[in-house]
Symmetry: D2
Subunit: 372 residues, 4 copies
C-alpha cells in the first residue's frame, strides 16, 4: 500500500469539496480497488486563524499560510490547487517544477498564454496533471461516454449544451463585477464545464459564433453574465452552447442533449442520478414500447456504482469529486493515464482556447475558428 | 353507409363532450374506418330556452324537453344518457325497452338493485349497451391492456390506483352536500373510474377494506369526499384503491401503477399521452440502459393513433370520448361486441357492486367480499 | 347570428385539423361567446374521388377540384388555404382580391418576395388575414404572453427556443429531399413556428447567425434537416433558436425557456397543458417554498379554459386550431383585430424574412441583420 | 471541543454509510456548528481479516471481533449498531447498560417485546438513543415537517406512502427466504421507514388493515414481499401505506403525498433533493400562476443547506446519515433532545408495534388497533 500525501491550496467551497473527497475515497473504494492510503498532509490559506481551524476539522496534519512554503515541502506528493482563479498559474507551475503531481480547478487560467505555460510546465516536469472538470465523473456522464464510444447513437448530428444557474446559486455574482483580481465571466466559469463535456462526448470544435450579455451594470468591470453560441464541430456535428448566471429557477442545471441517427441522450445536472436515453427501435407493429428511458444510473453495472451505496441510492454533487480524485490518485499510484476519462491540463488549456474564442466572437460579432 | 341517429339526454359537461364526439367522429375516422354516417337527431333537456340554444350550436336537428318524448321517438337509433346520476335509470330502461341501443354515463346507478335492473333490461331488449367509462379509450390505457394481454409484465403482483382531484376541478363539490336528488360520493364518482380500470386491466376483485372521510361538514347530507381502500383480487394481485376530491394541486390525476414479475407500468391522467413502462432487461454488463420508458402514445402503431394527428401530436381529454363513441357506434353498425374493449352495463353494474362494497366496508370497518 | 361560410383548400393533415376546428367551434364556444354560425361551404382538392369522400365526412356542403373555382365562388366568406407550401401564394392572393377573408398555413410563402406580395394583396383588399401559427393559441402560450405583458418576469434577458421532432413524426421527411415542387426545409417548416413564438413573446430580432446540417444526402435537392442559431433581439435579449427533424425521441417538442430578471418560464409542446413558471420570491427565512410552478393551464381563469372541459381536463394538439379559428372568425364577425393575439400575414411575412436570414447566414457563415 | 469516541458494529452497507458519516461530519459542519471532535475508535465484526481491513480503510483506530469486547470498552462514548436485524437487541442493551449512548439501525427489533426491552434499557440507563430512520434527515423531509408544523397545509386530510423497490436494489432478497437467523419482511424493512415518516409528519395511527403477498415461494420461510394497507390516524387523517421489494423499475422510491385543506406536498426518494408543494392560492383572475412548486431543497434557507455545497448542488442518499449522526452527536455533546427531529428508541419501538399490527391484520384479514 503506497501512501499519497496531499497538499490543498484553498479552503473555500472547492477546498472543502476536495478535502471531503480525500476523506471519503478510502471508505467508498475500500472493498474493491484501493491500493493506496491517503494522508491529508497540508492545507494552505492566507488567514492563519481560518486555515488552522479548517485544517483541524478537515483532518489535515498541518497547515501553511504561504503557498510557496507548501509547494516547496518534501512531504507532499500531490498539490491540489483550489484557490481563486487568479492564483491558479504560479503555484501550480512551481509545484510541478518541484515534482508534485498537480490538480488545478477550472478554469485552468484566465488567458490562453497562461494556460499554455501551465501545460508546458507539467509536460516538462513529467508529473500527472488533472484539470478539475469534475462533471466528467458523474456516473451518468461516464455512461453517456461509454454509450457513445460503442456507437449506440450512430452518427451524431446535433448537440445542445446549456449551463444555467440562478443568481442565488452564485454567491459571488456581484463581487465579480467589482474591481479586484481578474476573474472569469460566465463563459469561463460555467461555460468551460459545458465546453469540456462537449469535447469529452462529441469531439473538437472547429468554429464558434457567440453573443454575450452583461446583466450587472458596473462602471469598472465588464464581464459576461449570459452567453449564447453556435458551434461547428470538426466531425460535422452542429450545436448550441450557452450559459447563464441569471437563469432564475435553474439552481444549477447543466442540460445536455445529444442527437444521433440511431438515438438520443439527455442529461440534466439538476437530476444527476439519471440519464435519459431514447433508442429508435423497430418492434412488432402492435407492441410498441419505444420510449425515452429514464435510467437511474445506480445499478451495479453502471459506472462507479459498485463502489457506492447500491441500486437506487443516488449520489450527490460532492460525490463526483470522490470519483474524480480517486481516478487521479489511482493514476498517480499505478502510473496510468489520466486521459481519456479524466481531464488533463491539455483539456484545461483547450477549454481556455475555446473560452477565448467565444469571447472574441461576441466582441467581433464574427465566427471565430478554434486553433490550439 | 348506414345512418345512425343519436338522441342525447343532457347538455351539461357530459352532454357537451358526447355531442362533441359525435361531431368529430366522421372527421377523425374518415380515412380508414368509417362505414356509417351520424345524425345528431335530438337533444333533450328540461329548460326549453337552454336546450333549444344548445341543440342549435351542438348541431342537433331537433330538441325535446321531456325525456319520455325523446325516448319514444322512432327516428332515434341510439339513446345516450348524459343526465344527472338520479335520472340514469328510468330513461335508459325505457329507451332499451323501445329498442334503442343505449349509452349511459357512470355511475350506471346509485344502487346495485337499480344497476341490476338496467342490466336486465338491456339484456332482455337485446340492444347494445355501453357504460361511460371513457378512460378505457385513452390510447395509453389501451396500450396498457394490449401489453398485459401479451403477458409483457409476467405475473402481476401489485397494483396502485388513485383518482385525485382538486376542489377547483369539482364545481359541484359543495352542492353535492346539500339536500336534493341523491348523488354518488367520491367512491361512485371518481372511484368507479378507477374500479373499472382495475377490472379492465387486472381482473375481478375478491374483497375490499376501506376508510372514508367526509371533509365538507353538512347536517343534512353525509357523503364521502375521500376514500382509501385495499383490494384483494381473485388472481392473487393485491393493491390500493383510493380517490379524493380534496387533493389540492392534482387537478385531475388518475395515477395507476401496475407491478409484475417482469416489468411495470405507470399512467397518470394528468399526462394522458404518455404510458411509462419499465421492463426488467438483461443487457451486457457494461451497456446498461434499462430504464423507465416514457412512451408518447401517438406513434402510428399505437392504439387509435393512425386516425388522429400523427406522431407527437397528443390528444386531449375530450378525445377519449371520440374513440369510445366511435367504438360503440361501430359495434352497433357491425353487430360486434362492445366487450372486452368497451365497458358494457355488466361492467357498469359490477362497478356499482364494488362501489357499494367499499362504502359498506368503510361503515363496518370490516373486509367485504365482492359477489356479483 | 351571422353565418360565416368557409372554403378550405386541401384535405391532408392541415385540411383535416382545420375542418375539425370549424366543426368543433360551435360546440365548445356555445355557452359564452358565440355570435355566429359556421357553414362548411366547400372543400377543394385535386382528386375528385378523394375530395368528394372527404367533403362528405368532414361535413362540407360541396366540393371543388380546381382552386380557382372555389376562390371565385360567391357563397364563401373565408378562404382557408391548407394546401402544400407551393400553392400558398396564388390561391390566397386571388381569394383576397375577390374579397374573401383569408387564412393561410405557414410558411406563408417560400420566398420573401412572394410573402410580401401576399401581404400587399390582403392589405389592398382590406380583408382579414391570418397566418397559421396555431401554437400562439395554446392556453399555455397565451398565459405566457399575458404574464410577459404584465411584466411578471421583469426585464427579459435570455431566451431558448428549439423545435425538435423525431423522424417518425415527419412522414414526408425523405420525400422532401426528392425533386418536385419546392418545399421549406426545417428552418421554414419547424423553425418558423419557433420564430413566430419568439416574436410573439419576446420581440423583434435584430440579427441572427446560423449553422445548418443536411442529414439526408440527396444529389438533387439540398435542404436543411437541422439548424442551430443565435439571435440578438432589438430589445437586448439574446437567445438560441434551433430545430431538427432528426431528434430521435422528441416526437414533437417545442421547448421554450424565457429568463427575466424576476422570473422564468418554460414550455414544452410535448406537455402542452402545462406552463412552468418560476418567480424569484423573498419569503421568510425558514419557510422557503420558492420553486418551479408546474401550472396545469386548465383552471377557469386560464386562457380559453372557461369554454373547454373544466379544470384538469387537458386539451389536445388539434384543439389549438379550435381556439385559433374561433379567434379569426370572431374578428371577421366583429370587425376586430387579428393582432396582437393572432398572427397576421405581416407576421407570416416577417417569419419568412427571418427564415431567409437564417438560411443566408448558414451559407455565408456570417451574422445577418433582419430588415423587413 | 469535546471528543466523542465512536464504536461501530458491522461493516456491511450500514456500517459503511455510518462510518462515512462520521468521517464527513467535521468537513461539512466545520464553518458553523462544530463544537466537538470525532474519533472513530473501534469497528467490530466477526471476521478478523475483513474487520481489520475495513477498520483501516474506514479510519478506525482499532477493531474487535466480539461485540461484547467492544461494548465493554471504556474508550467508547457512542455505540452504533449497524449489525444484522438479529443482533440488534443484546449488544445495544448491554452498551446502554454500560453507559454508552446508542444508535441502532431499524427495525429496532423483530418483536415488540424485544423493542420494548431496548426502550426500557436506554431509559433506565439515561443515555441518548437514536433509531436509524435516516430519511427524517433528508432536507426535503425536514422542510415538509417545518411546513406542517406551521400549518401551511391547513388541516391534513389524506396521506399516501409507498416504499417501492426493484429486486435489483435488494441484493439479499432471496437470501431472506432461506433458513437462518430471523429477518424482517418488507413490512419491517421498507415499511418501517414509511411508518416512521407518517408518524413524524402526520401523527399517531389508530388502526390499520393490511394485505400481504409472498412472491418468492419458499418451503421453509414465509416472509412478505409486498404489502398494502389502509391507516386511520388518531387525528382523523386517512391514508394508504404500502411497500414492495418487487416493484420493477422503482430502484428505491419512497413516494409520499400529503393532502391538506390548504395545500399538498409530494416527495419521492428517487428525486431526494426536491419537495413538491402546491398551495391553493387566490390570485387575480387573469394572472393565475397557481401550480405545483418543484422546490430544489438546496437554498441557503433550507434545512441543513447552509452547511453543504450551496444552492443547486444536491445531496446524495448517504448524506442523510451525515445530517442524522451530526444531530445525534450534537445532542450527546449539548445534552439536548434527540426528539422531535430525530427518531428515538421510542419511535423505533412504536414502528415495531405498527409493523406487528400490519402483519397481524394481513393474517387475520381484520382491522387491528394500534396500542403502544
Amino acid at each position: 500500500m503506497k501512501e499519497i500525501r496531499v497538499g490543498v491550496l484553498g479552503y473555500g467551497l472547492m477546498g472543502k469539496v476536495h478535502s471531503h473527497a480525500y476523506r471519503v475515497i478510502p471508505v467508498i473504494y475500500d472493498d474493491h480497488a484501493l491500493n493506496f492510503t491517503l494522508e491529508l498532509a497540508c492545507l494552505c490559506g492566507r488567514s492563519r486563524e481560518a486555515v488552522s481551524k479548517r485544517a483541524a476539522s478537515f483532518g489535515f496534519k498541518s497547515y501553511e499560510t504561504d503557498w510557496r512554503a507548501m509547494v516547496d515541502r518534501d512531504d507532499i506528493d500531490v498539490f491540489d490547487n483550489c484557490g481563486p482563479d487568479s492564483v491558479h498559474v504560479e503555484p501550480t507551475i512551481r509545484a510541478a517544477e518541484s515534482g508534485k503531481h498537480v490538480v488545478c480547478e477550472k478554469p485552468l487560467a484566465l488567458t490562453t498564454d497562461d494556460a499554455y505555460r501551465m501545460l508546458e510546465a507539467v509536460k516538462k516536469a513529467g508529473v500527472k496533471h488533472l484539470c478539475g472538470f469534475h462533471l466528467r465523473f458523474l456516473p451518468a456522464i461516464q455512461l453517456a461516454r461509454r454509450l457513445l464510444d460503442k456507437g449506440a447513437l450512430g452518427r451524431v448530428l446535433h448537440v445542445r449544451a446549456a449551463f444555467l444557474e440562478d443568481p442565488v446559486a452564485n454567491t459571488d455574482l456581484f463581487a465579480r463585477h467589482r474591481p479586484g483580481p481578474p476573474v472569469s465571466g460566465t463563459i469561463g466559469d460555467l461555460g468551460s464545464h459545458a465546453i469540456d463535456l462537449l469535447r469529452f462526448l462529441i469531439g473538437e470544435p472547429e468554429a464558434v459564433a457567440a453573443l454575450t450579455r452583461d446583466v450587472v451594470q458596473s462602471e469598472e468591470v465588464s464581464i459576461d453574465d449570459v452567453f449564447v453560441a453556435i458551434v461547428a464541430f470538426k466531425n460535422g456535428v452542429i450545436g448550441t452552447l450557452e450559459a447563464s448566471k441569471f437563469a432564475i429557477g435553474r439552481r444549477s442545471s447543466l442540460e445536455l442533449q445529444i442527437y444521433g441517427e440511431k438515438g438520443s441522450m439527455m442529461f440534466d445536472l439538476a437530476s444527476l442520478n439519471y440519464l435519459r436515453v431514447h433508442m429508435a427501435e423497430s418492434g412488432p407493429q402492435d407492441l410498441d414500447i419505444e420510449g425515452t428511458r429514464h435510467i437511474n444510473v445506480t445499478d451495479p453495472t453502471h459506472p462507479y456504482a459498485k463502489y457506492w451505496w447500491g441500486a437506487g441510492h443516488g449520489l450527490g454533487w460532492g460525490d463526483a469529486f470522490v470519483n474524480e480524485l480517486f481516478h487521479f490518485v489511482s493514476c498517480v499510484v499505478d502510473g496510468t493515464d489520466i486521459s481519456p476519462l479524466g481531464a488533463t491540463f491539455e483539456d484545461g488549456y483547450k477549454a481556455v482556447v475555446i473560452t477565448d474564442a467565444l469571447a472574441r466572437s461576441a466582441r467581433s460579432r464574427k465566427e471565430v475558428s478554434i486553433t490550439y
